[in-house]
């Protein structure tokens, strides 16, 4: 392959796969940011949604987050950066507050919503595979999920991974 990127008709033949295992509002970001960006950079992208990552394929997303057990999570509050003590984070309503605060923060800082990023992923032909075993395990239904997804298992993912230049587990 030539290093001369200036030639006409340049096509990036590289590929990337991501295993998406987490479905909280904050952890939904890294796979969708990397997936959409790689697709924008002409990589062929496959995302494999398994366990808690699988609900990210649901048509209606209702992503939440918790500060519980995350000492690194400090949010800008009252001019400071504050971490939430676990005993407070465990109280009813705190997660809802943290979720609202995070969503407002994303908006204020010009960060896309997960819905927007997922739409961008669909538009750029990112291949999305739902883990069949997780569907069975959590009794989920593809009827509730977005169009265009495929079903597959571990072997399907391994097949993709062996042919990908970049393989990520998030």
């Amino acid at each position: 392959m030539s290093d001369d990127n200036k030639s006409g008709g340049f096509e990036n033949a590289k590929s990337m796969s991501i295993i998406v295992t987490k479905g909280s509002l904050d952890w939904a970001y890294p796979p969708f940011i990397l997936g959409t960006t790689a697709a924008a950079m002409d990589l062929e992208v496959t995302m494999f949604f398994t366990f808690y990552g699988l609900p990210l394929l649901n048509k209606k997303l209702d992503l939440k987050m918790t500060t519980l057990g995350n000492p690194a999570m400090k949010m800008p509050m009252m001019g400071m950066h504050m971490a939430m003590p676990n005993i407070i984070a465990a109280m009813p309503g705190v997660d809802r507050g943290a979720t609202t605060m995070m969503k407002n923060l994303f908006k204020k800082k010009g960060v896309a919503s997960i819905e927007e990023l997922r739409e961008a992923a669909i538009e750029s032909d990112v291949r999305m595979i739902a883990c069949q075993m997780t569907l069975d395990l959590f009794e989920m239904d593809t009827k509730d999920m977005i169009d265009g997804i495929e079903l597959g298992g571990a072997a399907t993912y391994i097949d993709v991974a062996t042919r990908s230049d970049i393989n990520l587990f998030i």
Binding site: G8, N12, T37, G110, A120
Partner: protein, 74 residues
């Protein structure tokens, strides 16, 4: 003067790149796109984007707190 201008001021990673890609998709080879961003991360990101996609980064500069990029679609 670039053939097209894209204003992504106020938007954060990865939106400037994704919107630039979308705009480039609708352009002809040889045409130029000017991107105006306020995201300091876009300086490194547009260089990387052009390196991977084979588009040429003709210029990269700043105007106050706006970062400007001129990209030629190849």
């Amino acid at each position: 003067m670039a053939d097209q201008t894209l204003n992504v001021e106020g938007l954060n990673c990865p939106l400037p790149i994704i919107k630039a890609k979308k705009t480039l998709k609708g352009m002809e080879a040889g045409q130029t796109l000017e991107v105006r961003s306020t995201d300091p991360g876009s300086v490194a990101d547009f260089a990387a984007f052009c390196n991977q996609t084979g588009n040429s980064l003709l210029s990269s500069g700043t105007e106050g707190n706006i970062y400007t990029f001129e990209i030629k679609k190849n």
